[in-house]
């Protein structure tokens, strides 16, 4: 019996051992298989990121305005980086030792050492072959046009995500998609062989803007010169192609250099031409005139008595620069008479005025999707009171952005057919409805031509070789306690050539000096400075040839 008991005992022990072995095999081969394989491969294989460049931004002729170039960021794996090597790494990378030590404690598997180095500089650090230190190709954004196009183009952050401007608005299209690949690494962790690609990298899409860098530069130069010479606080210029609505140039002051992050101030980074709305004032008069002509009650030569140069309207008193006496409609525009305009407006339907301005795109987004774009203000009334009606007719009580103004004037200059602002070359050019009858749009442009002629308010905007239709505007700025007495916004809007319009240019000067603030004196010269070079650049044929420029015998 004893032998039998011992036999059973040995049998059970052996079976138990077998069970242990089988369980172990099961756990290794089946239960923990994936974990163990993962751990194994991770000893010799690693997944690396392949970065791809963000899409390039160019102007309408293909000149680059934002380019991504490859740079190398040095990173380390804190698990592999030995504490003893930190000193060496700090010396090579120029990052302080405590910073690196702290980062090594904070991060588990990935820490940056330095970012965005020139490839050759990074190569020097990597050549030290410190275990656990690697290079990663990233892309850095450069803005070749610098300050000239910075507001419209915007900027990206260090991780290549759009922060401002077009970079933000079209971030989805511009962004690249990083790929992944597997590599075999050696003892100190350097990749020795590429094994396979898990995901292919995809570069971002290149986008062409409608701006023309040459015009952009001209506008930038003239605006900057004007603003700094007279000590204004800022300003904007927008140039628009009359037929297509293409934004040819858009600049603001103060500006910023997108290549130097340290110099950036939030206030200087605003694209004022789109984000800041202001009371337009007299530059609205041509549109009110269009309503007056369309009503059939007035002709360009209908006469209005503006004496004695001031007029009570509700609780307000509105004034003209001086007593102009009897003026016809054209002269009301020439002299920019508030009283003349108010008297005309009072005989119109308030709703017609509102419909006109709304039809021209005021009080609405332009739809180009720019971040922070202001929509302006165009209050509609259930019942139109004389005060609101008259003040809207000469541009008070509403707010517009310089871009909306450019768009509205483009519509006027385009034979009254609605123009939609466009900022990307591959956006469709839309043909809009007729807002102003073609005949009336011509009559209004003809009225505006008198503004730059002698006795007009904008004589400084006259060009030697091209006819110009323009309108000046000067408004008091609005603050917390109503209108400021000594702070102004001066505007000039010009259409050239007036006979066959190609370009609309809006110039807005913010807070010009209080001794010379009229739109005709402050903003009109900027227009001239830009246009006398811009129109020949665009290949626009002169339509007004100065007599002294004619060759002998040529008449």
């Amino acid at each position: 019996m004893l032998a039998n008991w011992r036999f059973h005992f040995v049998q059970i022990v052996l079976l138990a051992l077998l069970a242990v072995v089988v369980w172990r095999v099961l756990s290794l081969q089946v239960l923990e298989k994936e974990f163990l394989i993962d751990q194994g491969t991770s000893r010799w294989q690693r997944t690396e990121v392949i970065n791809a460049p963000r899409g390039m931004l160019t102007d309408r002729h293909g000149e680059p305005v934002a380019v991504s170039t490859p740079v190398v960021s040095v990173w380390a794996d804190p698990r592999e980086l030995r504490e003893a090597d930190i000193g060496k790494l700090a010396a090579a990378s120029g990052v302080s030792e405590p910073t690196l030590a702290a980062r090594r404690q904070q991060h588990r598997a990935f820490m940056y050492v330095t970012r965005h180095l020139a490839p050759a500089v990074a190569e020097e650090i990597l050549a030290l072959e410190i275990p656990g230190v690697y290079g990663l190709t990233e892309y850095k954004r450069y803005y070749p046009a610098g300050e000239v196009a910075s507001h419209i183009v915007g900027i990206t952050d260090i991780d290549d995500r759009g922060q401002e401007g077009i970079e933000l608005a079209y971030d989805r299209q511009l962004q690249s998609r990083a790929g992944k690949k597997e590599v075999i690494r050696d003892l100190i962790g350097r990749s020795v062989r590429d094994v396979g690609e898990i995901e292919a990298p995809k570069a971002g899409r290149d986008l062409s803007l409608t701006i023309d860098l040459r015009l952009q530069y001209l506008a930038y130069r003239e605006l900057k010169k004007a603003v700094s010479q007279m000590g204004a606080t800022g300003g904007s210029v927008v140039m628009m192609d009359v037929q297509t609505g293409d934004i040819l140039a858009m600049v603001n002051q103060p500006g910023f250099n997108p290549n130097n992050r340290a110099s950036m101030e939030p206030a200087a980074m605003r694209n004022r031409a789109m984000t800041d709305q202001f009371e337009p004032g007299s530059v609205m008069k041509p549109f009110s005139m269009a309503v007056a002509l369309e009503s059939g009650q007035f002709q360009p030569d209908s006469v209005i008595d503006t004496s004695p140069g001031y007029m009570k309207l509700g609780t307000y008193t509105i004034r003209d620069f001086r007593d102009y006496g009897e003026l016809d409609l054209t002269s009301i525009i020439t002299k920019s008479s508030n009283i003349g305009m108010a008297k005309v407006a009072l005989q119109l339907e308030g709703q017609d005025l509102w419909n006109m301005l709304y039809g021209l795109g005021l009080g609405q987004s332009t739809g180009i999707g720019f971040p922070g774009e202001a929509v302006g203000r165009l209050p509609n009334q259930v019942e139109w009171h004389p005060v609101e009606q008259a003040s809207m007719a000469y541009g008070y009580g509403i707010a517009v952005t310089p871009l909306q103004l450019a768009q509205a004037y483009s519509t006027l200059a385009n034979g009254g057919r609605r123009v939609y602002a466009r900022i990307l070359m591959d956006a469709p050019i839309e043909t809009g409805p007729q807002i102003i009858p073609e005949k009336i749009s011509r009559q209004v442009l003809a009225m505006m031509e008198t503004v730059v002629q002698p006795s007009g308010t904008g004589t400084a905007a006259a060009l030697d070789w091209f006819s110009v239709a323009g309108k000046t505007g000067t408004v008091h700025k609005v603050g917390d306690e109503g209108y400021f007495d000594d702070r102004y916004m001066s505007t000039f809007v010009g259409v050239a050539p007036a006979q066959n319009p190609e370009v609309v240019t809006v110039v807005v000067i913010n807070e010009p000096p209080s001794d010379a603030y009229y739109g005709g004196r402050v903003a009109a010269p900027v227009f001239t400075g830009i246009m006398r070079q811009a129109l020949p650049l665009l290949g626009v044929e002169p339509d007004q040839i100065p007599p002294q420029a004619r060759m002998e015998g040529d008449l």
Binding site: P144, V148, D194, G196, P546, Q548, A549, R550
Partner: protein
Amino acid sequence: MSWPARLLTLGLLVAVLVSAFGVIQVTYQTRVQFAQLESLRREGQRLEEQWGRLLLEESAFSSPARVERLAREELGMSEPEPEQMRWLNRNELETD
């Protein structure tokens, strides 16, 4: 086993061996070609780097501000004054 069955077995054996070597071959090719792709990509990267640098250089040299400064200061050029300009009427010249 009948002849056809033996033949089938042999055929399948050969097929298995061929496909096995095929797999080895293809895997090897994949790695070689991926390594090639990577080296081409590195080359591409290098060229891209160079292109980016040249592009920036070119746009720095051709920036309107620099061209204007050089034209004015070094070449002594200036914009023509209105009285210096003449109108050449192409149409009239052609009909003459």
